[in-house]
Symmetry: C2
DNA sequence: TGAAATGTAAAACGATCGTTTTACATTGCT
DNA sequence: AGCAATGTAAAACGATCGTTTTACATTTCA
């Protein structure tokens, strides 16, 4: 693992736990174990560092939901929450924190959500054997809901989403 | 509407649209049309002003969901999103922005979410004629999901949640 | 009428923000 | 051996942060 990966990982952890705005550059340099000169040479700016964090997270997340059934999608979320905890969606949080006024960040968020939406459509199609845009929209809502409700209701929120989605899929099956 | 209400309303709008951390006290004084001396005499501190904003929003929100059916709950959310737009849950966003490290804010968020959870339980009980904790959890997840998915998918997310919940309620009915 | 209360505008507080610069040490390559 | 690249620590940059203070004007009301 090279230093750039370390930087992104460490920055991701701080941004995720304390917020983008609340995390100062000196906390980042200290946690990453490098001078601010080096950090700026690597990352460019704080916003670009956040974009790198989001890009890495998008890759890691999308890899985790490489599944072909809706139930497996929520099993993956259950695992994610178990391993990483539940602090809500970093993409939506960062976009909200910055009021959508930092174009590179807003773009990274939009790209991720578009990819996620497309992935859910694919999973629903694979599971049913045909597409079902309404069910896909419901799955997106349940996934987003489980992600955010888990912040204050814990793993029970993910279980509830998983059982709900089982009912919806069963009803949609031909 | 007295000046304190104006202050809370104006602050709520800025915090909601640009984020708590990103909103400076001078933007608040200018938007509220008062000197910083008066603002501090009224609000105490930035954090206490945010707590006032959250408390007022809790009241307004809880009044809007004084309904006795699950469908009406999502109709209320549809109306909320139509009138106020969709920027996610201000309570969760503020808690995340501050890393949960400002006790008064963390407490206001916890209080609101507890009240919301209890209200959903009551609505489910009123709708079914008996309680159903699992359905209630599913309703919470769908509501939270519609709130956050609507940020990037618009009103379609709320419609999807509403149609999903109709299926779940129908199935739970005796 | 005159003190008490409440407001204002604006300067100042020390701290911290994101970022750049200065000055120097270490490394890798030819 | 010696140059170029890459790192460091630390000071400095101007700007802005949340908050308090100073000095003064207006209102309230006994």
């Amino acid at each position: 693992m090279d230093d750039t990966t370390t930087l992104t990982t460490v920055a991701g952890r701080l941004f995720d736990r304390h917020g983008y705005m609340a995390t100062g550059m000196d906390q980042l340099t200290e946690a990453a174990g490098m001078s601010s000169r080096t950090l700026y040479k690597r990352a460019g700016s704080k916003a670009e560092l956040m974009v790198a964090v989001l890009t890495e997270r998008d890759r890691r997340f999308m890899r985790r939901i490489e599944v072909s059934s809706v139930d497996a999608l929520f099993a993956a979320l259950e695992e994610w929450v178990r391993v990483e905890g539940a602090r809500g969606c970093l993409f939506l949080r960062t976009r909200a924190e910055t009021g959508g006024e930092i174009p590179k960040i807003a773009e990274a968020v939009a790209t991720h959500k578009a990819a996620f939406g497309a992935r859910v459509q694919e999973i629903v199609t694979a599971d049913l054997g045909h597409d079902d845009p309404i069910l896909a929209e419901q799955v997106i809502v349940l996934f987003e809901g489980a992600t955010h409700a888990a912040v204050y209701r814990g793993a029970a929120a993910v279980s509830a989403a998983r059982s709900a989605v089982a009912i919806l899929v069963e009803r949609a099956r031909p």
